[in-house]
Amino acid sequence: MDLVSKKWIFNVLLSMCFIGAACTSVEKKIYVHLNNTVPCVRLLNATHQIGCQSSLSGDVGVLHVLESEENLDFVLRTGLHPPYMVILEHRLFTRSIMMKLNNGSSRVAGVAVVAPDANPAEGFSPHNTCPNENTGVYSETYDPALAHCSTTVWNPLGNGLSYEEFDFPIFSLKDDNKTRFIRQCYFDHNRMVNGSSPQYPLCAMQLFSHMSAVTNTATCMRRNDLNLGITPEYVCDPLGDFNVWATTRPLNNTAKGHKMSESVVIAATRLDSRSFFFNIAPGAQSAASGFVTLLAAAHALRNITQEAPPNRTILYAFFQGETFDYIGSSRMVYDMENGQFLVDLDNIHSVLEVGQVGMRANSRLWLHSDPVSRRNGSIDEEVKTLVENIRSAVMTLNVSASEPNVSQPLPPSSFQRFLRSRPIPGVVIADHESSFSNRFYESMYDNAEYMRVSYPQNMTQEEQLQFVTDTAKALTEVATVLARALYKQAGGDQSQLSGINADPQIVTQMLYSFLIQSNNSWLQQIVPSDLAGHLKNTATNFYVGVMLQSSEPTHLVQHLLANLTGNVVNVTQQDCQNQRMEESDTVSKHTYTYTWVQGAVPPNATEREGYCVRSTVHLSKAVSPAFDLREFTSTDYSTWTESRWKTIKGRIFLVASHELEMVTLGVGVGVLLTSLLLTYVISSKADILFSSQREPTNATY
């Protein structure tokens, strides 16, 4: 038994050591997985699909680090091991290179763009040169001379990459250890040595970003309806979220439609931005500068609109989805036209919109207006009054506000959607006289660094939150001008204007929250407890996203607006959450919104002390009317949808030559055939071969 047991010891040991070797996972020896994958995804509208697509089982390509535009020739023509996975530095991520890669896409498996740590020196904007050109007010019928940016090209640095269609995946890589590993792998295996092409095994990358939707919105919405199984399989979702709005005077929100003898001044701005890659939209200048200014102005007006309310009501409107053909503002105008909103278009007195105001050179503000509607005398008078109100609001501040010298159309703004419906007097405040001063419009570089929101070294997060940057001071001045102009426009008294001042502390805290990180002590106090867990430690992502997924800034702005324009009321938590002042109150919920917020932790305590904030802040659905009307080929409304996908990932590995694979297969087939042959021969001759043992036993019949 000893020897038997010894045989088994080593039998088991042998098996265990085999299993042990396999347990270190062969997969880990082959693949290196990419951790933070930032893809470009497919978006569709009424006529086109844009963005990137990979094949269902991922695209495999041999790595090639592009050195210059001339090196493209290697990828597109001369390289011996197509298809290639091209690694680009950000300086090579230009329109000409990308279009050449797109044309030679049979030899291109995909592109990975290495994002730099600091913003590039020259500008970069993947957006169009004429944003939202077909859904604004300037069309052939309105004024052909002003349509399609004939007079002013708003985004001259735009290269339109975001609106091109690529049939290979494009990912963005951060410049970290993984990227260094990729470059090292390329240098070790893939580089040409002395003019001879590299030998197998070569370093390769596989990217998965298969998008389910194709062609255009009408096709993918039709396919959404084809549900044969129990669980519905959708291929795309409409973009959208919620608009945030509030009024200085409480109005009955349950009674929709026209309100008698209500004259409303709309203070509008946009909430969203985008970039070439999915879910990356720092949107500092293009979005945050505008709505932070409006929030600060609303705060500055809180006291005076409650103590000495002006004749007209001011409606603060923060529109979502404006980047994608004015989703939010078109929806609000549509609701107003159909009597589905608080007020209707007849109630609107004028519109004052805040555009991009963060980059003010020489502290100059420009007041843009629509020349076509101003051909009407009464509208022109109103606009002149509005401009005068703004200019008089400047007073002793270090700002100047003037109209542009040339007659030009409005820049892309939500006000254009109101004008599409009827001529209304209005002005858009911006920091650019004609083209945008924003060199990174709707790109991943439009961030805190570009807006010069930076803090001295060695500051804690708390100190950074409270530190008033120069940008914050500049935006505070704009907010003060805006608040005073709104008050004057709403019929307030000139003598009160000097008492209206925006608070730079609030402005800098808001800039920190949206551009640096939203998870800070100030926001933690203002939001309800269910939102507190969603506050992030990174810059806010301003991409509007699909309707089903709420966008980060919407709820933050909602609760900020409530805190800055509302009042704290002494109400129990239960009453607060039931939208009433006390048990018997059934009218408050029609005009007010009650929010129970977390509050701060008092000294000598561990739990937060919440309180109730009563405000007039409401959310209204911001989904394009095209989806309610089911007009998926509409040219009037936004038809943008985002495709769905299953997996987004990437991995790096070595590939062997095709010859070696075929040799392996050949050897395998050979071994199989040989052993079949041998075994057949041996088993047919078994009687003879093994006869010396069998003979005695077979002898007895």
């Binding site: 045989k7 088991v12 070797a21 395998g668 087939v669 071994v671 040989t674």
Partner: protein, 232 residues
């Protein structure tokens, strides 16, 4: 490394075993049952011994290597005793082949599954030939198990304990050779030498001889059969 490598390595690893199965076992249901029983009992012994080992490791002093090894041997002895209670050692080539199939499957299926993807081993500096050498090693192990079974059973019947010891020692040598990886030449060549020698030994144990081989190869076998045919 794609489907070509997957099929190639599968055929290399399991080719002889499949051939043996098709031509010697598949026709008779009883032999199939014995084969499966052999495989099953290999699994049982592995399971029990590893279970005992796992439990004992958990309750033992993990830092003491001597204690760990002792526990391993104890678990193995237990599995052997369990195995000896089953009448599984006859016919010897079937039980050996059963062991071989199962241990081959355990060692190589994991690797084959990863060979289907587009990548090959090497990005962290390991040798490229991992798949091929694993497949060849598995083929050798499967055949070795069968030869060991034949020789072991024969030696037990004839009470030739030196033969039993030789089987055990060659098993030990082969298992230690696998620790030579990734020096694939150093591990594969000696393994194949041992395979060849064990093959010859098993051939003799099973009743073969040089004379019979010569008869087969020179095609005089028909006369031999006729000559040996005894009338009733």
């Amino acid at each position: 490394m794609t489907a070509a490598v997957f099929f190639g390595c599968t055929f290399i690893a399991f080719g002889p075993a499949i051939a043996l199965f098709l031509f010697t076992i598949a026709r008779e249901p009883l032999r199939v049952i014995f084969l499966i029983a052999g495989a099953f009992f290999w699994l049982v012994s592995l399971l029990l011994s590893s279970l005992v080992w796992f439990i004992s490791v958990q309750i033992s002093n993990k830092d003491s290597a001597v204690q760990q090894k002792g526990l391993l041997i104890f678990g193995v002895v237990l599995s052997v005793l369990l195995q000896e209670t089953f009448p599984m050692s006859h016919p010897p080539d079937l039980s050996g082949l059963g062991f071989g199939f199962m241990s081959g499957a355990f060692s190589v299926v994991n690797i084959l599954a990863d060979s289907v993807g587009p990548g090959t081993i090497g990005i962290h500096g390991d040798s490229q030939h991992y798949f091929l050498s694993s497949a060849f090693m598995t083929m050798a192990i499967i055949l070795l198990h069968m030869f060991w079974g034949v020789v072991f059973f024969d030696a037990c019947e004839k009470q030739q304990w030196w033969a039993v010891a030789a089987v055990v020692i060659s098993h030990l040598v082969v298992s230690c050779l696998t620790f030579q990886n990734p020096e694939y030449v150093a591990s594969l060549v000696p393994t194949y030498v041992i395979l060849f020698l064990m093959g010859i030994w098993a051939f003799y144990s099973a009743g073969g001889s040089l004379r019979n081989l010569k008869l087969c190869l020179t095609c005089k076998d028909k006369d031999f059969l006729l000559a040996n045919h005894r009338p009733r």
